[in-house]
């Protein structure tokens, strides 16, 4: 089960913020909690910390296992560990569950201290900037003034980008993977279908389903299935599933029989047990709202004027949700400002999901970039 380069058994920790957080939506969150994990050791100078931001369905559990019997490691275990590309012998790696998440940080499922009930529909919609503010609180709490790097893929990459703009002096390197400076109409459209499937599920009950012991499984399942289709490329679906069926011949009923159907249903079932519907619709909103360019990509060059960190930007050829062209926009705006940037477009068949997969070239790039960080500023 556990390879020798695993971080091994890990434990989550909780950071309780005393300071209230003023949100982009105008509301205020008091006394919130963030659940997080760390791997490796923070050195004496406290300058070897790397924050990893998670994507839509991710969480703070980046690597390792909770128990010896645990079958699945953290979601980025193929990258993070002693001797791995993000080497925990050298770096202090931090994973945090975003505020509003469903894995332990204060979120819609939590008890609102003012009402002693679950937040549910009353929980605010948070923005990427709000998350970054809360993450900064955690980093300060850990005694870190400047991060060596902030790293993330997809929505995680947007957070990394936001870090470089919001706290330009608090990080040396920004690593943006399979992301964009804002979402396209097509992306927002997919998010809206996902939200509608949840919002119209009768068990959703306007978001107040916890006390009624309901779970809007149908909506959440559909949202996840749709998501999974868009995270893969047509080519990889062809290779992975093709028109293969589980049994010989057609059954002429509506049970899943094509392998792609089984796959989607399996993913959907897994998801409803571990993810909160209120979190899902709020996270997709954070994605939709994220737009440091203020709806004009040309503004990006101006916004990057205050950036101080160096950049690594990575895209994947078959990723049609966050296409290489979107990454190139970021690269261009960085070059306009003379900011040190390297950009790689990785030949991968898996679509958007490629950023989570083990790929020798991709991981070699990250490994060497991390090593470079240690060699020179």
């Amino acid at each position: 089960m556990q390879d020798k380069n695993s971080v091994g058994i890990v434990q989550s920790k909780i950071f309780k913020s005393e300071a209230a957080l003023l949100l982009d939506c105008g509301r205020k969150l008091e006394n919130y909690e963030l659940v997080y994990e760390t791997y490796g050791t923070l050195n004496q100078k406290k300058d070897n910390a790397i924050l990893v931001c998670h994507a839509l369905s991710g969480n703070h559990h980046l690597a390792g296992y909770y128990t010896k019997k645990d079958k699945h490691p953290g979601w980025w275990d193929n990258l993070i560990g002693p001797g791995k590309s993000l080497d925990t012998n050298k770096f202090f790696v931090i994973g945090v569950n975003n505020l509003g998440g469903s894995h332990g940080s204060t979120g819609p499922k939590s008890i609102n201290p003012k009402t002693n009930k679950n937040w549910g529909s009353k929980f605010p919609i948070l923005s990427v900037a709000d998350w970054v503010n809360s993450q900064k609180e955690l980093i300060t709490h850990l005694g870190i003034k400047k991060l060596k790097a902030v790293l993330g893929g997809s929505l995680g990459g947007m957070q990394a980008l936001q870090w470089s703009i919001q706290f330009p002096d608090a990080l040396d390197h920004t690593i943006v993977i399979a992301a964009a400076a804002n979402l396209t109409a097509q992306n927002i459209a997919f998010n809206e279908v996902a939200r509608q499937s949840i919002l119209t599920d009768p068990d959703f009950n306007q978001g107040d389903f916890y006390e009624k012991k309901l779970v809007p499984k149908r909506g959440l399942r559909l949202a996840r299935m749709l998501g999974h289709i868009t995270y893969l490329s047509n080519d990889v679906m062809k290779t992975k599933f093709g028109r293969k069926t589980k049994t010989k011949g057609y059954r002429y009923n509506f049970e899943p029989e094509f392998e792609v159907e089984s796959y989607l249903n399996y993913q959907a079932d897994k998801f409803v047990n571990e993810f909160d519907a209120n979190t899902y619709i709020r996270m997709t909103k954070a994605l939709d709202y994220f737009d440091p360019t203020k709806n004009n990509i040309k503004n990006l060059s101006r916004i990057f004027k205050k950036v101080r960190s160096q950049f690594l930007v990575i895209s994947f050829t078959s990723d049609w949700r966050f296409s290489p062209d979107r990454s190139k926009e970021i690269v261009k705006a960085l070059l306009d400002n003379n900011i040190k940037v390297s950009y790689a477009e990785i030949d991968a068949a898996s679509g958007h999901d490629a950023f989570l997969m083990s790929n020798d070239h991709y991981h070699a790039i990250l490994k060497n970039y991390f090593l470079k960080m240690l060699n020179k500023k």
Partner: protein, 197 residues
């Protein structure tokens, strides 16, 4: 884009690059030229490299390197955003040379182009003997060469005058020694410093 006999043109290029210039090296290979210029001239350099293995070598050599295909143009770069744009021993493998030269002169205030001179007497001799030339500057067999647009010094001079490109300086060398007598016959490598007319 493999760069052979790679240091032969570095020194001359370096003489054409001002201190603290912002330099873009197209087809930067392992980044050796940019590192050379960083040491000598304290430049800020960016490389462009399409090949993933060369790209990784550049990254390892501390180069800021952008992975893209030059054939697609330089649309990611603003007009005049670089002091110098360099195309070193790469032009012969490019398909759309007119478009690329235009793009280079748009993005760079000055452009440096170097290429193996196909008019070199050793190449002429090999063709006269009935075979495609193989040399230090042209190390490939006819069937595995990436080169599609080989040219002579005379060809390139003509290209510049026809495309309103001003040649600021031109050096033709053989084994790092400058050739002044019949350069199109005795010179193995041509180096041009160019600006828009």
């Amino acid at each position: 884009m493999k760069r052979n006999n790679k240091r032969s043109d570095f020194e001359i290029i370096s003489n054409w690059v001002g201190d603290r210039s912002k330099v873009l090296d197209l087809g930067c290979g392992d980044g050796a030229l940019l590192n050379y210029l960083a040491e000598r001239k304290n430049i800020t350099g960016f490389g462009i490299e399409k090949d993933k293995d060369n790209w990784l070598l550049s990254l390892k050599n501390n180069i800021d390197v952008i992975q893209m295909d030059l054939e697609a143009g330089l649309s990611g770069f603003e007009d005049g955003s670089f002091d110098v744009v360099i195309l070193s021993k790469t032009i012969q493998s490019m398909h759309n040379i007119e478009a690329l030269m235009k793009e280079m002169l748009r993005v760079g205030r000055e452009v440096i182009v170097t290429f193996p001179n196909f008019g070199y007497w050793r190449d002429r001799l090999q063709i006269l003997m009935g075979q495609m030339p193989i040399s230090d500057e042209l190390p490939y067999q006819w069937f595995d060469t990436p080169n599609v647009h080989l040219c002579t010094v005379k060809d390139f001079d003509q290209f510049c005058s026809e495309h309103k490109i001003k040649v600021l300086d031109r050096l033709v060398v053989t084994k790092n020694r400058s050739v002044h007598f019949c350069p199109n016959f005795f010179g193995a490598l041509a180096l041009y410093q160019l600006v828009k007319k």
